[in-house]
Every structure is written in C-alpha cells, then in structure tokens.
C-alpha cells in the first residue's frame, strides 16, 4: 500500500504548482486551470486521509468540492467569455479598471 506521506507530498506539489500558476500566469484561462489544480490537490489530500483513517467522510467532502468547483467553472467561464467579448483579450493585466 502506498504510504500516506507520498500522497500528501503529491498533493502539496500540485497545490504549489497551482499557486504559482495563479500568481505568474497572465492568461485568465490558465489562471483558472491553476485554481482547479489547487482544488484537486485538496481533493487528493481528502481521499488520502479517508483511506488512511478508514473513514468515508473525506470522500464525501470531495464530492462537495467537485460540485462547488463545477459551479465555479460555470460562473468563471461565463465571466471570461464576456470579458473576451468586451475587450477581445483574456490577459488579466489588461483588465485593471476596478481600482480605488
């Protein structure tokens, strides 16, 4: 059986990649994918713990996260599509009108 530390390590690596992706990429869609990556890193940790603790709770949580992620994708993509229609661009550093 795979030790839990491996799974957690993988989860941490994926999460970090996601964070870095959000921070450094300019394309909104890629940022979006990075966010998804972070969510799924979290899911992986949940599943790993569920298995480790012999409990179903973690797996149930994963379903919730997936549901939320699906909803988020729907809203997020809609925003991106509309932004593109308006500005013909999906680069976030060109969208900076909302500031104090």
């Amino acid at each position: 059986m795979i030790p839990i530390s491996w799974s957690l390590l993988l989860s941490a690596v994926l999460f970090t990649i996601g964070v870095v992706g959000v921070l450094v990429r300019r394309n909104a869609i890629v940022i979006f994918m990075s966010v998804e990556l972070m969510l799924n890193a979290g899911n992986l940790a949940f599943v790993a713990f569920a298995r480790h603790l012999n409990s179903i709770d973690g797996q149930v949580f994963v379903f919730f996260v997936m549901t939320v992620a699906a909803a988020e994708v729907a809203v997020g993509l809609a925003i991106i599509v509309n932004t593109f229609r308006l500005r013909e661009s999906v680069f976030v550093d060109e969208i900076n009108l909302l500031k104090g």
Binding site: V19, V22, L23, R26, A28, I31, V92, D93, I95, N96, L97, L98, K99, G100
Partner: protein
C-alpha cells in the same frame, strides 16, 4: 349614568383625525360641518354633564373617570383621567359654547381663505387641548393640554405664515409661553417631590399636612406655578406676546387670545386654590401682579389705534382683574369674571372681525368712523359688548367686575380695590373711545374701503347676536346682595369651600351699595369722558396729545417694554446664541465631525495604493496573507 363627559375632549380630536384622513375630499362645506359638528356635539355633552352634576347632592358633585393608564414608573402612575366638578363643568361649558359659536363664525370669516381646512384642523386641535386642560384630574394631563394650547396658539397666530410679522408674532408667543411653562413644570416637580402625587385630589388632600402654612416650599412651588400662569395668561412680566398675537386671524384672537386659552392661567390658579391659600405671600404677589397688569394694560389701551390691539390690551387688563380676584382669595369671583369676559370679549373680537371684514382688512381706528348705520347688526352687538365690559348694570361685566371689587375691598386690599376702580374707569374710557371712533362721528374710510362696505353674512351675524344675548344675561347668575350667596357662588362652593384664605368678610349692605355705586359712577365717568373727547370735541384729543406729548408717546409705544425686553433679554440671548453658533457649533461640533471624515480620508488614501486593479496583485496579497496566517499558527 355613564360618565360620557370624558368624550368631550375626544370629539374635537376625532374631528382632527377625520379631517386629516379625508383631506380635501370633504370640500369646504364638509370641513365646516365636521369642525362645527364635533364642537357642537361636545357642547351638548358638556350641557348634559352639567345637568347631571346639578342633579346630584352638592357634596357628591365630583365624578372621576380614568380612561387608561398612560405610563407607570415604579409607584408612580400617570393616568389619562378626567374630573367633572362644578369648576370644570363651568370651564367646559364656556370653552365648548363660545368655541362652537366662534367655529360657526369662522366658516363665514375664513370662507375665502385658501387654507380653510388647515384653519379648522388647528381650531379643532385647539379645542381638544383646551378641553383636556380643563377636564384633566391631574397636573400631568393638565400640562399636556397646557402645552397643546400653546402649540395651537403658535400655529394659529402664524396661520398666515407668509407674512413675516405673523411668523414673528407666533414665535414670540411660543418662546414667552415656554418661559412660563418652564416655571409651571418646575412647580409641578416641586409639588410632586413634596406631595408624592400629581393627582389633584391626593395632592390637595395631602398639602395641608405636607406644607406648613406660608412655608418656603409651598411659596416657591406656587410662585413657580404662577409664573406659568403669567406666561399663558399674559400678565406682567410676560404679557407682551398677546398684543402681537393679533397678527392671527380674528376668530383666533376671539377664541384663543380672549375667551379660552389665556384664561387657562386663571383656571389653574383657581384649581390649585388649596395650594395657593397655603402660601399667603404668593397670593399677595398674584393680587399685586394682577392689579398692576390691569392698570398698565388699560393705560396702554387708551392710546392704541389698531382696533384689535385695543382689544388685546383690554384682554390683558381684564385678565389682570381675574388674577386680582384670585389674589385676594375670591376664586369664585375670578371664575365668574372669566365666564362673563369670555362672552363679551369674544363678542368684541368677533365684532371687530366683522368690521375688519367689512372694510377690506382695515384695522386702523383712524380710518373708520360712522359705521353704525352701515353695519347695523355688528354695531348693535358691539355696543352691547362695550357696555358690558364697561360695567354698566344689568349687563354681564358689571356683576363680575363688581364682585371682584367687592371682594378686594372686603378682604382689606384697599390698594387693589382702588386700582380696580381706576381700571374700571379706564376700561370704560378706552372701550367707548373704540366705539366712538369706529361707529360714530364722521366717516374717515378710505375711498376703496368705503366702496366695499357690507354687513357680514348670517353665519357671522348669528353668533354675534347669541353672544350679545349672553353678554346681557350672563351675569344674572351672580347678582350682588343676594342673601346666602348668589347661585353662581353656591354652584362653585363645593370646589372652593374651606381653605384658610377663602374667607371674605361679609360687608354691611350699605357699604356694598356704596361700592356698587362707586364702580358704576367710575364706568359712567369713563364713558362720558370718551364721548366728550372723541365725539363732541375731537379737538380736545389732539390738544391733549400735544400738551402731554411725553405721556402720549409713552402710551403709544407701550412704555417701550418691547424695546426694553429686546435690549435686556432678546438681544443678549441672540448675540450669545450667535457666538455659540460661530464658536461651539462651527468650530467644535463641526470640527469633530469633519475631523473624523478627514482622518478616514487620509487612511484610505494610503490603503488605496494596495488596490491596483490587477488581479495578479490581489492574488499575491492573498497568498502572502494566507502564508502569514499559516506561519503565525505554525509558531504558536
């Protein structure tokens, strides 16, 4: 026997509510019917209540009704409760009766006013407040009415608020009344802190045990109450608002500033006779203030040229008589004069209103004259009222004024009595001066007014006639020389019985007849003098004005009391307020508010730098924040 009398104040209030709810949908006719109807109904209820009361044995003539408990604090209970006894019955009858007639009169007088509905709304509101004042059975509810009539007075004086003088007069009346009301409030608090209750019954029953006769506490409390009375009833030193209050519509002057509201102070003193008789010093003050006001106002009235101002000073003077009566312990006489005065002074004002109406708003006596034939009904009724106020038997004013003078003499206040006689002479003089200048002699009308002269419509004349009848017969309930006291006395005996100061010595019939003869002679002398000076030899008046120009100017300018008050009180207060506004308000209060604003603006100017608009920046801050929190938890 259901005590329906508690509905008397509720009816005008219902009128107000209906008028507010239905609004202009009622139309002028509907508004007039509603307003007069509720007051008329209240009058019928008052009559019924008085008859019920008369049917009871004398010692049982006191009915209390508690409508509901207003609020409760610890042991203290404020009830909305009313009392019907001979005194409040007389007051309710006078207020609703005269009030009803004036309502009817107003439907004619105000017929062409665009704010017709507002006028009747205020009038009904006033009736509600006034009836609450006279029917309340505790000080707190009386104070509600007391303030209510003050408010209505303000609203109605400034009814034509687009005229600066009217707005100014309303403000003046309100502020001066507030000074008095403050005294009233303090007096009330003093009484409560000593007597432990604000109910008349309990307080008056406890008073002789709580307060020693003539003690400082009761003297102080009653003086404070009397300060309230001087404000409301326009006595020295707070009388200057009443003449200015003539800026209001004439029916208002008749209702509020002659017949009802200004008598509230007299009613209050009479109601609290159990307290005032415990403080002989206060009673002396009341008598002296009353006498001084009666004389001072009468002298000013002699030289005024505005028909309503003459009547206003006359009112101040007659109120002085009422206080004179209360001050010498003759509360019955005071209330008697209150009643007869309500009849003839309301009639005088309404008659003056009829004249003003006929002359297209001319109020200056110098531009009247010779109206007797052209306004026959106004003239006849005004003549009746003028004779009544002058004190010629058998009209109403004679009986009440004579009783006051008699009681002043009998109680040993010869100075007060003398002032009263001189005042009676002056009263007869200035009233017949008014009569002669307005109705007799050659016409001095402006051509334009002359063209429009017309007798008033029936809605105005009928109330005049009814009031004229009352001015004639109103005094017959209290004839002098009646063995065992006259009927009016016997009616009020249950209220005023007892009390150490109430005893007025009986005079020998010979002395009494001599006093009557003296007061009638004084009145006749005043009338004769007025006719001689203003009708037969108009030159005398001009000659006197020239020869005593200093005195004349003092009278014409009302002894410069207004100017004195302006310089001594109004000006300094105004300047102090201005300084406070400039310094405290603008610098300190506004400074604090603006300071908070500026601080927030400065802080947010810095914080705004973090808000670049780039999603990446926000994500970075977010991540750094999460890392910081994680680090924080990791270390603890």
């Amino acid at each position: 026997m259901p005590p329906l009398f508690a509905l008397i104040p509720a009816l005008p209030l219902a009128g107000v509510a209906l008028s507010l709810l239905l609004g202009d949908r009622l139309g002028k006719r509907g508004t007039a019917w509603l307003a007069c109807g509720v007051v008329g109904l209240a009058f019928l209820l008052a009559v019924r209540a008085a008859l019920q009361l008369a049917g009871l044995p004398a010692q049982d003539r006191e009915i209390h009704v508690t409508a509901w408990t207003w609020f409760r604090v610890g042991d203290f209970r404020a009830n909305v409760s009313f009392v019907l006894d001979p005194l409040s019955a007389v007051m309710a009858l006078v207020v609703t009766g005269v009030g009803f007639l004036i309502h009817v009169y107003s439907t004619g007088y105000m017929a062409h006013d665009p704010s017709f509905r507002r006028f009747f709304l205020y009038l009904n509101l006033f009736m509600f407040a006034m009836l609450t004042l006279v029917l309340a059975d505790n000080f707190l509810l009386m104070f509600v009415g007391w303030e209510g009539v003050g408010l209505c007075s303000y609203l109605l004086i400034g009814f034509w608020y687009e005229r600066p003088a009217a707005a100014e007069a309303g403000k003046k009346a309100f502020v001066m009344n507030r000074i008095g009301d403050f005294g009233f409030l303090l007096g009330m608090i003093t009484l409560f802190s000593f007597g432990g209750s604000l109910d008349y019954d309990r307080l008056f029953a406890a008073a002789p045990h709580v307060f020693a006769l003539g003690s400082a506490a009761i003297t102080c409390a009653t003086l404070l109450l009397f300060l309230g009375a001087t404000g409301k009833s326009a006595q020295l030193p707070l009388y200057t608002w009443l003449p200015d209050a003539m800026e209001g519509p004439t029916p208002v002057s008749a209702l509020i500033h002659a017949a009802t509201m200004v008598t509230a102070g007299v009613y209050m003193v009479a109601r609290c006779h159990a307290l005032f008789t415990l403080a002989p010093a206060t009673l002396e003050v009341v008598a002296v203030i009353g006498a001084a006001t009666a004389l001072l106002a009468a002298t000013i009235g002699v030289a005024q040229n505005d028909i309503k101002r003459v009547l206003a000073y006359s009112t101040v003077s007659q109120l002085g008589y009422m206080f004179m009566a209360c001050g010498v312990g003759a509360f019955t006489a005071g209330i008697f004069h209150l009643m007869t005065h309500a009849f003839f002074k309301a009639l005088l004002f309404l008659g003056a209103g009829s004249v003003i109406h006929a002359l297209s708003n001319e109020q200056d006596l110098r531009r009247m004259g010779g109206l007797a034939e052209r306004l026959p009904w106004t003239h006849r009724t005004m003549l009746v009222a003028t004779i009544a106020i002058a004190g010629i038997p058998p009209l109403a004013g004679f009986f009440s004024k004579d009783e006051i003078l008699h009681d002043a003499f009998a109680s040993g206040h010869f100075g007060v009595w003398l002032v009263g006689i001189v005042g009676a002479l002056l009263t007869a003089f200035y009233m017949f001066r008014l009569y002669a200048l307005a109705f007799r002699g050659p016409s001095r009308l402006t051509p334009e007014a002359d063209h429009h002269v017309h007798e008033s419509p029936p809605s105005m004349v009928v109330p005049l006639v009814i009031l004229a009848v009352l001015s004639i017969v109103g005094g017959w309930v209290g004839p002098p020389l009646a063995p065992g006291g006259n009927p009016f006395h016997r009616w009020l005996t249950p209220v005023f019985a007892g009390g150490p100061g109430a005893a007025v010595r009986e005079l020998a019939p010979g002395t009494e007849i001599m006093l009557i003869a003296l007061s009638v002679v004084a009145a006749l002398a005043g009338i004769g003098l007025a006719f001689r000076v203003y009708l037969q030899r108009p030159a005398i008046a001009a000659d006197l004005e020239r020869r005593f120009s200093g005195v004349y100017r003092a009278l014409l300018n009302k002894y410069w009391v207004d100017e004195l008050y302006d310089a001594a009180v109004v000006g300094p207060v105004y300047r102090a307020a201005q300084r406070l506004w400039r310094f405290w308000d603008e610098k300190i209060v506004d400074g604090i508010v603006n300071g908070i604003g500026y601080t927030l603006e400065g802080v947010s100017a810095v914080l705004r730098l973090f808000q670049t608009g780039f999603v990446g920046t926000y994500a970075l801050f977010f991540t750094l924040g999460v890392l910081a929190v994680l680090l924080f938890f990791a270390r603890h």
